[in-house]
Amino acid sequence: MTKDAQMIPPGWDYNPATWSQRIPIVILALIGVLIAGYLSLYQLELIDSVWEPFFGDGSVTILNSRISHILPIPDAALGAFGYLVDAVTGVIGGQGRWKKMPWIVIVFGLAVGPLGFVSVMLVVFQPVLFSAWCTLCLASAVISIAMIGPAMDEMLASLQYMQRVKRSEASTWKAFWGVQSEIEKVN
C-alpha cells in the first residue's frame, strides 16, 4: 500500500505509469504495427493487392506514389517501425518507471507525441499531393492520434521528476538513466 502511494507523483492523484494506463496504448500501437506492416508488404511487392473498401484506386495511388518511396525503405515500413518503438517503449519498465527510468518514458512520450503527430500529418497530406484517400492509411492516422492524449500524462510526470532532480544534489544525467543511488535522493 505504502509502496503504491510512493508511486504516485507528488501533487498528483494517481500514478500515470500503471499497467491499466499503459496497456491500452500498447494495444493501439500493436494494431498500428499490423496495419502499417500490412501496407508495407504491399509496398515491398510481397502481396499483389491492398484492401480498399471506399476509395477505389486511392490506396494504390498513394502507396505507389513517388513520395512514399523517397526513402530507401517504403514509408509504411517506417510507420510500422515507429509503432513498434511505441509498443516496446510502452511496455518496458515497472509501474514506477516515471521516476525509476525517466529516459524510457521520455523516449516513449516523444515517439508517441511529436513523432506521432508528424506521421499523422504525413498521412493526411497525401490527398493534397495525390488527390486520393487510403482507408488503412487513415485508420493508422486515427490510431496515432488516439495514442497521444493518454500517453502524455506519464511524460509530464517524468519531466516534472527531472525538474526536481535538476534542483536537487543528484546528478541529472545519472537520474535520467535510472541509476538507483541518484533516484533515491529525489522524491
Binding site: P9, G11, W12, D13, F117, A141, I148, G149, L156, Q163
Partner: protein, 123 residues
Amino acid sequence: MWARILNTILGLWVMVAPGIFNFSEAATDNGHIVGPVIVTFSVIAYWEATLSLRKWNYPLAVWLLLAPWILSYTNTIAIISDMTVGILVIIFASVSGDVKKSYGGGWASLWQKNPDHIQKAKN
C-alpha cells in the same frame, strides 16, 4: 468534453467538405490540411492532462476566417463553410473542461519557479 467532440466533427467537416461541394483547388488543399490538424488537437484535448491543446485550435480557426480572402476562394459555399467553422471552432475551443484530477501543476509547472509538484515533494 462536448465542445471538443464538436470541434472534432467540425475538423472532419473541413476535411470532407471540399470533396462534397467541389471546392476550387486552393480551398480544397486548405481544407485537407487544416481539417485533420483541428481533429488532432481536439482529440488530444479529450484527456485532462492535455486539455490545454484545445487552445492550439485558435490559430487554425483564425486562419479559416482569413483563408477565403488570402487564397481568394471563388466558391461561395467554401467561403461560408470556412468562415462558419472558423467562428464555431473559436467558440468551442474556448470552452474549458472539468479537471477532476491534479497533475502536480501540469505542463506550466515545467516553466514555473516554485511549481506545485516541488512544494508537494518537500512535505
